[in-house]
Symmetry: C2
Subunit: 376 residues, 2 copies
């Protein structure tokens, strides 16, 4: 892949550069999620100050509100949201999955919070694509491979994703097989519909079945310039296994993105196994819930009363604006007082933490001390 | 007043400097309100970038949460909230009034939103002070002149306010008279309790009765180094009359603060009549509701559908971060999508607007063209 260069390897962990029309993404890297064309509680100025190199926005949410036509009229997402660095959009497949079998199986993340009561599905999957009802107002939409790629062209992100079917973690092997075959056919239609210079990821599925993951990985590698791994909902151990099945099947020189994964330990596990890119709502969502990252892999929960009069910053070793200026006690006060400023300061810290974590990891790989960094 | 210098006058409008331990406040000026030790949706960095010179925090809210003892342990409000420029605290009188007669009269601003159904009062006023129940959890507190001044000393603001009784706009002349007499006695007790170098305002009350306003103004001028005017809930015309009654009764060389007032037209009306300082939640609250200021005195309501695809910034003449980078359409999208970033960007603009308005007014007064500026 001519726009992706691997600069150094330390075991399977690798440091590289992904070149996009809006600048270089140093890998390994982490994409903060800006679901609705905004990273929650952070301005583009904040993101730049922190050193964020790429954000991910959600095709499903943006097609519903404000609509892809509007964003296209503004010259695309970059101009609409005032962010001139790289952007990735997803295919919408995960969200429409969340409106379907995930509802029936009580594990939707768009409606409800996952692990909820089974509910009737809001989507219908055919060979053509997915018909669904908006979670906002119940209006009907259809998403097909052609439509997903067209919308992603309108949004104008640097990196896009082929439209994929999502199997449920409760599916049988036979159901999974049908699902990855559908994802293959949709992938080929996505490629055919692809008319821009956006870099398109194909998505490897197959649940927790080795044979299906291998099969899907081979197909994806054969047809796509960039490899995404989707449909991982299992435990941490399973995640490692899946990556270990997939990575040997795909070309060394293609970027590899683990979709929707981004806890600290997952990053280390993924990078150790050759993953280059991650996106996840965890750091922004955790911040809003009072959970703040402290190096190397500890969560500080501001709800705990022991922080009531604590004069220390969130992380005494952190150099971010929040840690340089505010105490745990003040942040805890803002949290319980329901102040918007809490969300800004907490999110700033958590995204700063993730951004610096991947930066530290890149440095460590360059100096062949990834395992040493991990051990600290 | 040795810490207040009048530099120039244009009619009754005046430009001056109020010197505090945390820096100079150029007057006329506007205090954004940071009720709970935070200006809603703005960090101290944002406030400095905008050019804000002073913020006001509420004694009532802070004594309940996180408590004055905690803030004192942190070295006062400045250190607690990370703001090293001037701060003013109010006496708490207005908020405990809102828990009492204002509830009976259906005009509380702490409980409910004003203009509500009459409800039983949550406070009891005696000669000693006010016993009240917290609006947060119903627990009982007492606020006396001595306690208000002690708490304000613990908070450590540069400017503080003597404890005052608040008359209701539905009170009779006799009831008002009793109220201002109580405010006088509480004012004298506040002076006696005052042991710091904080500049203390006395508060002029008297509702819409000229004789009572004059009487209260004379007493305040005789006993205090700084003059606040409180208890103004009437219409715009009434506000002008009240200022015109009070200003001739107070010394030229003392700063004059109009408490809780701060719509654009009120600022012009007040400054024209010799007022130096204002505080109000209007710009921050309006921002959160989708109301944005456009020069000179127009409100743009983002809820209107005509802004759906509007590429212009809020105010094409504005130089703030929000106007330099984002369209009305994007802000409207963020507003309806419930994004926290909306609050940050909208509040930034409104506070920038007010800060620049008073700056423009200061320049105009210096150049004897206040009326001309007002006419534009």
């Amino acid at each position: 892949m001519k726009n992706f260069k691997i600069l150094h390897k330390d075991g399977k962990a690798r440091v590289g550069e992904l070149i996009t029309p809006h600048g270089i993404i140093e890998t390994p890297n982490f994409n903060p999620v800006g679901t609705q064309a905004a990273v929650k509680a952070l301005s583009p100025k904040d993101l730049k100050e922190i050193g964020v190199q790429i954000v991910l926005a959600n095709t499903y949410h943006l097609m519903l509100r404000p609509g892809a036509d509007l964003i296209e009229k503004f010259g695309g997402l970059h101009k609409f949201m005032g962010w001139d660095k790289p952007i990735m959009t997803d295919s919408g497949g995960f969200q429409v999955f969340s409106l379907g079998i995930a509802l029936e199986h009580g594990s939707s993340k768009v409606v409800g919070k996952g692990d909820s009561e089974p509910r009737p599905r809001l989507n219908k999957i055919t060979e053509d694509g997915v018909t669904f009802q908006s979670h906002l107002d119940g209006s009907r939409y259809i998403l097909t491979p052609e439509k997903s790629i067209r919308i992603q062209a309108q949004l104008g992100a640097d990196l896009i994703v082929a439209f994929d079917d999502h199997e449920s973690s409760k599916h049988t092997h036979d159901e999974m097989l049908k699902s990855i075959e559908l994802t293959k056919r949709w992938g080929l239609r996505s490629l055919k519909a692809h008319k821009t210079n956006q870099l398109m990821y194909g998505v490897v599925h197959g649940g927790t079945h080795k044979d299906l993951r291998v099969r899907s990985a081979k197909f994806t590698d054969k047809n796509f310039e960039a490899i995404a791994i989707g449909g991982i909902y299992g435990d941490r151990q399973k995640l490692c296994e899946i990556i270990d099945w997939v990575v040997p099947q795909v070309s060394e020189e293609k970027p590899r993105h683990l979709l929707g994964i981004g806890e600290v330990e997952d990053l280390f596990n993924g990078i150790e196994r050759g993953i280059d890119l991650f996106d996840c709502v965890a750091p922004t969502r955790r911040a809003r819930n009072g959970s703040l990252y402290v190096y190397p892999d500890r969560i500080l929960n501001l709800r705990q009363s022991r922080f009531t009069a604590d004069k220390k910053p969130i992380d005494p070793q952190c150099s971010c604006y929040t840690c340089a200026n505010f105490s745990r006690a003040y942040l805890r006060h803002l949290f319980f007082a329901g102040e918007i400023l809490y969300h800004q300061l907490a999110t700033y810290h958590n995204i700063h933490f993730m951004t610096n974590l991947v930066k530290d990891i890149r440095e460590a790989i360059k100096e062949d001390r990834f395992n040493k960094l991990r051990g600290t």
